[in-house]
């Protein structure tokens, strides 16, 4: 994540559109990514459940206009399954990354303001959670919670806060020791005033951007853990389930079962990443003048 702290170049395609300035390019790109995500969610909600019912007369069809992503061995439309699965994933990812960011906010603020003991305790906790590989921690938590969406959400929320906590701690420390806060203190402002008027405005964008940037990791981990069999149940529409089922049919040459759902996941994750990263650029004063 460190590398993404610097401003990104506009995308190659954008070089052909000289009339837009950087800010407009960024906004356009964000809007495009948002449309992609929006269309996928709308498709997931609006498409008829009948399309993922069993149709034995339409089994194992290759992709066509009627079935964009083909159908599986039960005649279920793969596009509908993918869209519904992704919608579920996006929902889970949202809740999980929101929870994660709230944890990171509280711990980051606490470690930067409540003194040395709390600071070292939080840093110890961060080390503890970074010590176990994310996936192993996720398996452990999902196992303990007995699988299902709850296990995934708790698991992702518990494993994704450490890096953001460090960032927020550094940010708050920097503000606390900045000159305008000193001046404000000497002018007799209360701690609450400083916290609300000087520190909070800096954290609000961090909060929003934090959610958006944790989101791709959250969805990817949800899909991974479901793929391994610890997440959502096989009866729910989920990308992880679709891909793990497709493994049985790979040798038969039904490539569309795995290709399109995975590609859709990639596109959604990348779109969310683009939105989050560009929003960070727009709200971050350090990159505003580049």
């Amino acid at each position: 994540m460190n590398t993404s702290l610097t401003a990104r170049m506009p995308y190659p395609v954008m070089a052909f559109i000289p009339t837009l300035n950087r800010r407009q390019q960024t906004l356009l790109l964000m809007a495009m990514a948002a449309v992609v995500v929006g269309v996928m969610i709308a498709a997931g909600i609006l498409l008829d459940n009948d399309r993922i019912a069993t149709h034995f007369d339409q089994r194992n069809l290759a992709p066509s206009w009627n079935h964009l992503f083909g159908t599986d061995w039960l005649g279920r439309d793969m596009f509908t399954r993918t869209a519904k699965g992704l919608t579920v994933s996006i929902g889970i990812g949202m809740i999980a990354s929101l929870a994660s960011v709230v944890i990171a906010m509280i711990l980051g603020l606490a470690s930067a303001t409540l003194g040395k003991t709390v600071d070292s305790a939080v840093s110890w906790l961060v080390d503890l959670f970074l010590g176990v590989p994310h996936l192993v921690a996720l398996i452990l938590i999902a196992f303990v919670m007995g699988g299902g969406a709850k296990g995934v959400i708790v698991g992702v929320a518990c494993t994704h806060w450490p890096s953001l906590t460090r960032l927020i701690r550094a940010e708050v420390l920097q503000i606390r020791f900045s000159e305008y806060v000193h001046v404000s203190k000497h002018m007799g402002r209360s701690r609450v005033f400083i916290a609300v008027r000087h520190v909070m405005p800096h954290l609000a964008p961090q909060f929003l951007v934090g959610i958006l940037l944790l989101f791709p990791h959250a969805i990817l981990h949800e899909a991974s853990i479901t793929f391994l069999g610890f997440g959502l149940s096989p009866h729910q529409p989920a990308i992880g389930v679709i891909l793990s089922e497709s493994m049985k049919y790979l040798a038969t040459g039904m490539w569309w079962l795995a290709f399109f759902p995975g590609l859709s996941l990639l596109v959604i994750v990348r779109s969310m990443d683009i939105i989050g990263d560009h929003l960070r650029q727009l709200t971050d004063p350090h990159s505003a003048h580049e």
Binding site: N2, T3, S4, T6, R8, M9, Y11, P12, W124, D127, L128, L130, G131, V132, P133, H134, L135, V136, A137, I139, L140, I141, A142, F143, V144, G146, P216, L220, A223, S224, F227, L228, G229, F230, L243, S246, M247, L250, A251, G253, W255, A258, F259, G262, L263, L265, L266, V269, R270, D273
Partner: protein
């Protein structure tokens, strides 16, 4: 003479600082590992899965309640949690992690065997992703803002959003199903005795999972190296070198490379956590019989001792990676030595 003793003293000081630093580090790792033991033990003892049930499995109907009690007596499952924890902890100190229920052999042996297989996979991926990623990062950094840089950067960012297991599935589809170059899965050919397995068989089964992990692993190191190189190229000494007429590969070789190599190596050592997670997924896709595969098995079939052992082992693996990264900095970078003596 005075000068010499002064130097000696400062050398002593440096050594002392290092020793205290190392002890602090070791102490921290010990407390973290202890906390991890407690947390995972508590978590698993409250899990909804009944270990006796998991052990009995399909023989459920044939096992009487008396036999069940004997089993739980044998595993010590009828004791209160605290007593079980003390028993488990005492055995752990002696290197005994208990017996795996699904493999019916000591957890330590299972982890040892499985990790040997995983190590081959992870080492190959670690090495190749490091080298290729570094070269990609340097190429992008040297061409900052040009097409090549943009393409490489876009590629790496997209790679970072790619699900590992999906990439694995794609490789299976292309190389195993369509082209038939590689076997579809497993660590060795199916139905072959273990004595007949040649080193070539093993390598053949290793290539695709290792390739998956290498492709995914490139992104992070390439983006990081690119950024470091761009920062270095902005520095005054590069400006001076440029003023002397150095450019291109010569400039990179003489002034850039050394400064970006160290962070790259450190980053690579600090990435053990992602490497382990990636190998769990890759092993699942390719049915490769490594530690990641054992983790999934242990979780799905409720093998508590094995799962507990793997959690601790994976943490130890990550900690040793981080420790190595710190040590390399301490030994190689003169600036850190100065900072610790201040």
């Amino acid at each position: 003479m005075v000068l010499e003793t002064g130097q000696e003293r400062s050398l002593m000081m440096i050594r002392l600082e290092r020793v205290t630093w190392l002890t602090g580090k070791a102490l921290r790792i010990m407390t973290l590992l202890f906390a991890l033991c407690v947390i995972s033990f508590v978590l698993l003892s409250y899990s909804p899965i009944d270990p006796v049930q998991a052990y009995v499995g399909a023989d459920m109907m044939r096992v009487s309640s008396q036999q069940r009690e004997q089993i739980s007596e044998y595993w010590g499952l009828n004791k209160p949690p605290l007593e079980r924890f003390v028993r488990w902890g005492r055995a752990l100190i002696h290197g005994d992690l208990g017996v795996s229920m699904i493999f019916r052999s000591p957890v330590r042996d299972v982890i040892k065997d499985r990790f040997a297989a995983s190590l081959a996979l992870m080492a190959a991926a670690w090495f190749f992703s490091g080298i290729i990623g570094f070269v990609m990062g340097v190429t992008a950094g040297m061409n900052q803002g040009r097409w090549l840089d943009r393409i490489l950067k876009w590629y790496c960012l997209t790679l970072a959003s790619t699900p590992t297991f999906w990439l694995g599935l794609l490789l299976v589809m292309v190389f195993s199903v369509w082209l038939g170059w590689f076997p579809v899965g497993l660590g060795v050919p199916a139905g072959q005795l273990s004595e007949d397995v040649t080193i070539w068989n093993r390598v053949n089964h290793l290539i695709l999972p290792a390739l998956t992990l290498s492709i995914i692993g490139v992104a992070n190191i390439a983006l990081h190296t690119r950024q470091k190189l761009i920062d270095v190229l902005k520095s005054d000494y590069i400006l001076f070198a440029r003023a002397k007429g150095k450019h291109g590969v010569q400039l990179l070789w003489q002034h850039g490379l050394r400064n970006i190599m160290l962070p790259a190596i450190t980053l690579q050592f600090a990435s053990f956590s992602e490497l382990f997670g990636g190998s769990v997924l890759a092993e699942q896709v390719f049915s490769y019989p490594g530690l990641g595969n054992a983790t999934v098995q242990a979780g799905l079939r409720g093998d508590l001792p094995l799962l507990l052992g793997i959690v601790l082992f994976s943490a130890l693996f990550v900690f040793s990676g981080n420790l190595m990264a710190d040590l390399i900095y301490l030994v190689v970078d003169p600036r850190i030595t100065e900072a610790t003596t201040l």
